[in-house]
Amino acid sequence: MENKEAYWQENLRLIFICLAIWFAVSFGLGLLLVEPLNAIRLGGYKLGFWFAQQGSIYSFLGLIFWYGAKMNKLDQKYHSEG
């Protein structure tokens, strides 16, 4: 029983971290902070514009795979006996 609760708490913590980053790269860097970021350049891209049209999508991908890998470890730690 305790195990189950601990597993869920760790999962929630991971989700919280991931969603904080999810929010930061899209709504934060791509939208709310776009103007100051646009002063910085990434080649021909203004940085804020890049986050809105490219960077946020790459970050989403990284997040899903990172979360998946972390959860697989967590699954093994708590439920390896099946």
Binding site: K4, Y7, W8, N11, I15, C18, L19, W22, S26, F27, G30, L31, L32, V34, E35, N38, L42, G43, G44, Y45, K46, F49, W50, A52, Q53, Q54, S56, I57, Y58, F60, L61, L63, I64, F65, Y67, G68, M71, N72, D75, H79, G82
Partner: protein
């Protein structure tokens, strides 16, 4: 027959033959095959199928065109239609897969221990999916009529027959394997022209990098800087900063598309086809890779299409295109009425500006950008034919997924679940096929008589899913105490508020002239456009649900045990019936 037409026939009918072959090979023998493809799809296969299911005619044909004209404002679609997968992977898919049922309303009915909840979920699902499917049918008709030069209605009928054959025969199993093929067709059709165009303009074959590169004309100027300069000179909004109705509207719009993505039943259903909870998480990742391939290319396609268009009309400042010397693609699209020129100052040249009085390009339909792009860039005919097959694959694959979601909610949730619980498996399979047929006829009818608002429908479908289904699912997993009464109240008020807002600005059932507040910015709630209102609807849904929960008390203990069980990843059997 000219070369282009020949190639187009080969590409279109060749891919159709492929879809039919797959459908015959993967035909469904049981309800499990029909609803969840037998549950044995691998995460990678499922990722591709989700990609095709998800990327509709709107993604393939319309999105880059929207970005071309909105510039930075178009980012709402890029972030909104990809960010939802993060929510799916973390908040919904693994737990719903663990629970292991066939449909979304079935999950809601178990979790909220109520047939009423199931019926409400079916209604929300049908409203969102039908809104969505109209756009797809229209896409099928338009693509056929343009590329095969048949009548729009005939094109639509051909599309209906094709979907009918493989969706009714194969159910989820047939749809899954055809969607994999359609994904491959679609992604080649989208990226090949983009690679060519990027290479032409910037010398870099990777469009994502080409967009941030300097022009290949030796000037050393960045493409985006040049584009900004060209459009602002003509009075348009600067490409890389032009906003879409203010920051708050963009925020609400993006959020609405994200949670709508996570709440669309035809996408969620696809996660029931994999064998385990881990595979469900992985599928979301593979799906987003497949989707990101197109979505990170789209901004390059949009910007480069805009650049080429501007450059064709005004190759150098003040040296405008002489109308009589216009290129062939210009003439072709004029014939369709989607591109219109009016020589207002009578100088025989084309002036394209942001000023409505002097602008002579009186109509430039956004939807033509992707389809006309290869011709504008002088690419070979086989590339143009490939784009035609890709556009059709995008529209057909999404239509099939939506039709399955609609028909399964009727045959499995309404008939088997509520009204005829003792139906045999064989009869349920038959009922599934019959409802699918009816759904196709209905969708085709709406495609032929679009309710006059077809352009905006896809975005609205997201708002409706965002405000009704997503909150109910999320609360069901993350709040053990959430009760049936509270969830039902939440769903009804969420979708109700959203529909009311859309109707008051767009007309009741979209009938022109019945909008009692008018479709104008100043009357919008904090400047949030109707398309973006789903996120407000979702907030209302959450708020009402928790208020009702407080007033009426939590869910019974055995339901809380179901939630506990959902949260443990082990022991997920194949998706089953009861």
């Amino acid at each position: 027959m000219d070369e282009l037409k020949l190639y187009t026939y080969i590409a279109v009918f060749g891919t159709f033959a492929l879809y039919f072959g797959i459908a015959w090979w993967a035909r469904a023998g049981s309800t499990s095959d029909f609803y969840v493809a037998g549950g044995g799809i691998t995460p990678f296969q499922n990722g591709m199928a989700i990609g095709a299911d998800w990327m509709s005619a709107a993604s393939f044909i319309s999105m880059a065109g929207l970005i071309a004209f909105l510039g930075y404002g178009g980012s709402v679609f890029l972030m909104g239609w990809t960010g939802g997968y993060v929510l799916l992977a973390m908040l919904l898919a693994p737990y719903m897969r663990k629970h292991g049922k066939f449909t979304v309303p079935e999950f809601i009915s178990d979790r909220y221990y109520s047939k009423t909840a199931r019926i409400v979920a079916v209604i929300c699902l049908i409203i969102a999916s039908v809104t969505y499917v109209i756009g797809q049918m229209k896409g099928v008709g338009v693509a056929f009529s343009r590329f095969l030069e048949v009548d729009y209605d005939l094109g639509l009928v051909i599309g209906m027959v094709v979907v009918w054959v493989y969706a009714v025969l194969g159910g989820m199993k047939g749809i899954t394997y055809t969607q994999i093929a359609q994904y491959v067709v679609m992604i080649f059709a989208y990226t090949i022209p983009a690679v060519f165009i990027s290479l032409q303009l910037t010398g870099n074959p990777i469009p994502q990098l080409g967009l941030g590169s300097t022009l290949a004309d030796g000037s050393g100027v960045y493409l985006l800087d040049k584009l900004d300069m060209v459009v602002t000179d003509l009075g348009f909004k600067e490409y890389t900063t032009g906003n879409l109705g203010g920051t708050l509207n963009m925020f609400a719009y993006t959020m609405s598309l994200m949670i709508g993505t996570a709440g669309l039943p035809h996408v969620i259903m696809r996660f029931f086809t994999v064998p385990s909870v881990q595979a469900a998480r992985q599928s979301a990742g593979y799906a987003l890779i497949c989707i990101a391939l197109l979505y990170t290319v789209a901004p390059a396609v949009g910007a480069m299409a805009r650049f080429n268009l501007m450059n064709t009309i005004e190759p150098a400042a003040g040296e405008n295109l002489v109308y009589d010397e216009r290129p062939q693609w210009f003439k072709d699209w004029e014939k369709t009425g989607l591109l219109k020129f009016e020589d207002k100052n009578g100088d025989g040249k084309v002036q394209y500006t942001a000023n409505a009085e002097t602008n002579e390009m009186v109509k430039v339909d956004r939807d033509i950008m992707v389809l006309a792009n290869p011709a504008i860039a002088n690419l070979p005919n086989w590339v143009i034919a490939l784009v035609a097959a890709g556009g059709l694959a995008a529209a057909l694959s999404t239509a099939a997924g939506l039709l399955l979601a609609i028909s399964s909610s009727v045959s499995h949730d309404l008939m088997k679940g509520v009204f005829v619980p003792d139906m045999s498996e064989k009869n349920e399979l038959l009922a599934g096929r019959v409802t699918m047929t009816i759904a196709i006829l209905f969708a085709g009818y709406l495609g032929m008589n679009p309710p006059g608002f077809a352009a905006g429908t896809v975005a609205l479908a997201f708002g409706l899913a965002a405000s009704s289904i997503f909150p109910a699912l999320m609360m069901g997993i993350f709040s053990k105490k959430m009760s049936g009464k509270a969830a039902i109240a939440g769903m009804i008020s969420g979708i109700g508020v959203t529909m009311l807002y859309v109707f008051q600005h767009k007309g009741i059932m979209f009938i022109p002239g019945t909008s009692f507040l008018g479709d104008m910015g100043p009357n919008w709630f904090f400047g949030i456009s109707p398309n973006a209102f789903g996120s407000v609807g979702a907030l209302v849904n959450f708020g009402v649900a928790f208020a009702v929960l407080k007033a009426t008390g939590p869910a019974p203990a055995h339901i809380q045990d179901i939630v506990d069980n959902m949260r443990i990843p082990t022991g997920a059997g194949a998706a089953h019936d009861h």
